[in-house]
């Protein structure tokens, strides 16, 4: 009830919208027969601070609020939104939405309060967790201490982002669900010059927390150290190999492999429509028996976590692949209903101005039995990829890419020299069948992931233990 109270205060009390107003809007919407309808109220306060060249160069504050109204009948969706939280504007949006529905009878809906799911993150406003002076001091401290690490550092860029979001979802039964979501993120980039060669290194992290997260355990300072380490590795890197070879992926952020190769292809909308390379393959083998992959939005404080999704469904752990066998899909309400399964708490939207879609939360592979050092030692000739920049997938052909930003050659069971970043390409339904070793070192990423789909961005997490893949194409320039 506490979250509901906070969200109602932020979204309704401050704008003068009453429960009776919401009942009016909902009753008008439901005067036509439909399958699903909802009103999504949202307000987001966010800020960013940027330090560059030793000075606090930019600061920005943003307030965004509005409501989206949706009605679904069969596979048809009508949608409209307003950024003015006033009854007449909500009614106008409702009239637009009803364009998709048949004329019907009068309806009367009464609001009911809904119990919330377990709390996964504090409802505090991260923007207020430090004073502006403290934020600025923190950035300057990171800059100072990072510059002291190496004389070859030319530039340090530090950014700090925070957001405080209130959402309130009213569904067609008049049930109210609410969430208050903090999100913080920090990034440190360094540019280093050595013997006329310039390279960059970048490291960041964050989660659904407040700014003290970066001070605790000296996380922010460690981002600076890691950024310098990465730039130094890049300064030594030589041309990456080109061709198909054994690839060992490090733990943590390389789990972007699972996000691209597996995760998107298992989103409910593509599978309902039969457009995914994984369509109709539940209970088939799509990975080696060493692989169990889950999506879990209910992890405490992670960047991809949500108490409830954007349709009010509590998040959960969903098993996607169990011991190599495809188990299920990620669902929002619309696709779950049309496929005759339960929603999995994966209905997410970028904002009130976009429609919910089935999306990932935190996607990762469970740990295996192998010692990571033994995994490296087992490779005669291959690539060890430890850090990645991003990825993309064609869910229909199954082809996916992800770009290594820190990689080394493995020669005779040993990591030898760093090679330049290169794109790795593979086929989603095949790549995990070639996983021959899984490490016992599961790690989740540091909290920097953003996933794009149909133009909508949402924060996500990934993770995995060290993995050995017997054959993946590495897109370097060095053709043997």
């Amino acid at each position: 009830m506490e979250l509901l109270h906070l969200a109602k205060n932020a979204l309704l009390a401050s704008t003068g919208i009453t429960d009776q107003d919401i009942e009016k809007v909902l009753s008008s919407l439901l005067s036509s027969p439909l399958d699903t309808a909802d009103i999504y109220f949202q307000s987001t306060h966010s800020e960013s601070w940027v330090l560059e060249n030793g000075i606090i160069k930019e600061g920005h504050h943003n307030i965004e609020q509005g409501a989206g109204i949706r009605a679904v009948i069969g596979e048809k969706t009508g949608f409209a939104y307003t950024d003015r939280l006033e009854l007449p504007m909500l009614m106008t949006a409702t009239q637009h939405v009803k364009g998709i529905l048949k004329q019907g009878q009068n309806a009367q809906v009464n609001l009911k309060n809904h119990r919330n799911a377990p709390i996964l993150y504090p409802s505090v406003n991260p923007l207020k967790s430090l004073s502006d002076q403290q934020k600025v001091d923190l950035l300057q401290k990171i800059d100072r201490e990072t510059r002291q690490l190496d004389s070859r550092i030319e530039e340090v860029i530090v950014s700090l982002l925070g957001a405080h979001e209130h959402i309130l979802v009213v569904d067609q039964d008049g049930q109210l669900t609410a969430d208050v979501r903090p999100l913080v993120r920090m990034n440190v980039t360094v540019i280093m010059l050595d013997n006329g060669r310039r390279e960059q290194g970048s490291m960041g992290g964050g989660g659904r927390s407040h700014y003290h997260y970066f001070i605790d355990e000296e996380r922010a300072l460690n981002y600076g150290k890691e950024a310098v380490r990465l730039a130094l590795v890049n300064l030594e890197a030589t041309a990456a190999p080109a061709g198909n070879m054994t690839v060992v992926l490090g733990p943590g952020w390389p789990g972007i492999l699972l996000h691209e190769a597996i995760g998107h292809g298992l989103e409910g909308d593509f599978n309902r429509k039969g457009t995914s390379a994984f369509s109709g393959r539940v209970n088939e083998r799509v990975a080696s028996s060493l692989c169990t992959v889950v999506d879990d939005g209910s992890l405490q404080g992670r960047r991809g976590s949500l108490t409830i999704d954007d349709e009010g469904t509590p998040t959960q752990q969903t098993v996607l692949i169990e011991n190599g066998i495809l188990k299920g899909y990620l669902q929002d309400k619309l696709n779950a209903r049309l496929m005759g399964v339960a929603p999995t708490g994966n209905g997410r939207r970028e904002s009130y101005a976009s429609l919910p879609l089935p999306r990932m939360t935190n996607t990762y592979m469970l740990p295996g039995q192998d010692d990571p050092e033994e995994i490296i030692a087992s490779v005669q000739h291959g690539l060890y990829a430890k850090n990645f920049a991003g990825g993309q997938v064609d869910i229909t052909s199954g082809k996916f890419v992800f770009s290594a930003s820190e990689a080394y050659l493995i020669e005779n069971g040993k990591i030898t020299r760093p090679v330049k970043g290169a794109t790795l390409i593979g086929n989603g339904p095949e790549v995990l069948t070639r996983v021959s070793m899984v490490g016992n070192d599961l790690a989740l990423d540091s909290g920097v992931g953003t996933c794009g789909k149909e133009g909508q961005s949402v924060p996500v997490g990934v993770g995995q233990p060290t993995l050995k893949i017997d054959g993946l194409t590495v897109g370097g320039t060095h053709v043997a």
Binding site: G59, H60, T82, L193, Q200, V401, S403, I425
Partner: protein
């Protein structure tokens, strides 16, 4: 909507916003305001899938207290919210550092003439008409070939908006613009494998859109021709970029000669002004005043006058791409590119696409790129690709699950030819581009 009255009303709001900043003590301020609305309709397998009504507004303000800068934005245009937004920007400026290069543009660079650019053509598109057009488009695609097996649908979008920009130097201008598009994406199946591709048309004026049938047919053709694709063994060979993806190469050029990358020294084209970065036949220029084009604008995001000028002439880099801040950092003058470029035109060559295939003889014709593997600091380039293997100027078979790699500095110099098949659908206008040699990896 009476556009000019509406523009005047929004100008009034912007004016009061700038006044509010002054009252709160700012020594200078710049503000922008926009309102947009539109309709998006999508149809899948002959049935309406979504009808979306869009209605967005937003304002942003940047204030300067001498050389301390702060900015804020909001989607709420009520008087209270405006005050609060200005207050937030001013509060931030108390904590940012004095930056000797910060501030409004030089007064004499601000645009004072506002020629008609033919950007506003509202389309009285009803939902029913939009459904008809999308249905025609998708139907054409679905019936094009027996291998077309499924669809992601066809969608039509029609948007119009008003954009106002002003600053405390007295610049205050607004204009209306429209943008309409139609797209279609279908799937084809052969044995166990599926392929998907798409096509779209976009224009300021709906009468310039390609017909729904043309869009549907192109989407289907592009999808069917991908069936039974193979990989390629690692090799070095010529690569021909199709016009619609070649624009990305020049997008990377713009990234590398942008002020931010230059003053951070984080570009592979540092200190390259007046040096040869392309072969001598390459000519690249900016054309902000093209009538009705997607990237046309008389002024940039700071109100600085845009001007038609050369970026690359006879292969020589002739201009950077700067806003006021980066220009001051570099001791140069703004090039009117705050917010980006305006109709970057790569002067087309004489060869048709078919002639380019003949010129290439044997190599890779790339039609799709995946991933973000472009490093502007070093120029290192490695991306996933799909396309066709070409021998003796004739397309042999589709290829996929391959990567293409090189270094942009070398790739730019290795351009052999640019086609006359210019793609006009974006802000970068180029024909297909043939590069002498790149590294290919695959199975």
């Amino acid at each position: 909507m009476n556009t000019s009255a509406h523009i005047d009303e929004l100008k009034h709001i912007l004016h009061s916003l700038l006044n509010e900043a002054k009252q709160q003590g700012a020594s200078a301020a710049q503000a922008g305001l926009s309102q947009e609305n539109g309709l998006s309709v999508s149809v899948r397998l002959g049935e309406v899938e979504t009808i979306e009504h869009h209605c967005d507004q937003g304002l942003g303000i940047t204030v300067y207290f001498d050389q301390h800068k702060g900015s804020a934005s909001t989607s709420d245009l009520s008087p209270d919210s405006i005050k609060e937004t200005v207050r937030a920007a001013c509060s931030i400026a108390r904590y940012t550092s004095a930056d000797p290069f910060a501030g409004l543009p030089d007064q004499d660079l601000l645009q004072t003439e506002f020629p008609k650019l033919d950007l506003y053509h509202p389309w009285s598109l009803t939902t029913d008409h939009a459904i008809d057009l999308a249905t025609q488009c998708e139907n054409t695609a679905l019936n094009f070939h027996p291998a077309i097996s499924n669809s992601e649908g066809a969608s039509i979008n029609s948007h119009q908006g008003i954009h106002i920009l002003g600053n405390s130097l007295g610049f205050l201008h607004g204009y209306a613009s429209t943008r309409h598009s139609l797209s279609c994406s279908v799937l084809a199946q052969a044995d166990d494998s599926m392929q998907r591709d798409y096509w779209y048309t976009v224009a300021r004026n709906a009468v310039h859109l390609d017909s729904p049938e043309q869009v549907g047919k192109t989407a289907a053709e592009r999808t069917v021709r991908r069936l039974n694709a193979r990989s390629l063994s690692p090799r070095q060979c010529p690569v021909l970029y199709s016009a619609n993806i070649a624009s990305g190469l020049f997008g990377s050029l713009i990234g590398a000669i942008s002020g931010g990358a230059l003053y951070r020294k984080s570009t592979f084209l540092l200190d390259c002004l007046d040096t040869l970065i392309f072969p001598e036949f390459v000519h690249i220029h900016e054309q902000p005043y093209l009538q009705g084009a997607l990237g046309s604008a008389a002024y940039d995001n700071e109100g600085v006058a845009t001007h038609a000028h050369d970026i690359v002439n006879q292969g020589l880099l002739r201009s950077y791409v700067l806003n006021s801040y980066s220009a001051r950092k570099l001791g140069l003058q703004s090039t009117g590119n705050a917010g980006g470029i305006h109709n970057l035109t790569i002067e087309p060559g004489t060869q048709t696409f078919a002639e380019l295939l003949t010129t290439m003889d044997t190599g890779l014709y790339v039609t799709e790129l995946m991933g973000q593997g472009v490093n502007i600091v070093t120029g290192d380039y490695s991306r996933g690709a799909a396309g066709f293997w070409v021998e003796h100027g004739v397309i042999q078979y589709p290829v996929e699950e391959i990567t293409i790699a090189g270094n942009l500095k070398d790739m730019f110099k290795a351009i052999i030819a640019i086609g006359n098949d210019v793609d006009l659908r974006g802000n970068i206008r180029t024909g297909s581009v043939l590069i002498e040699q790149m590294s290919i990896a695959g199975v």
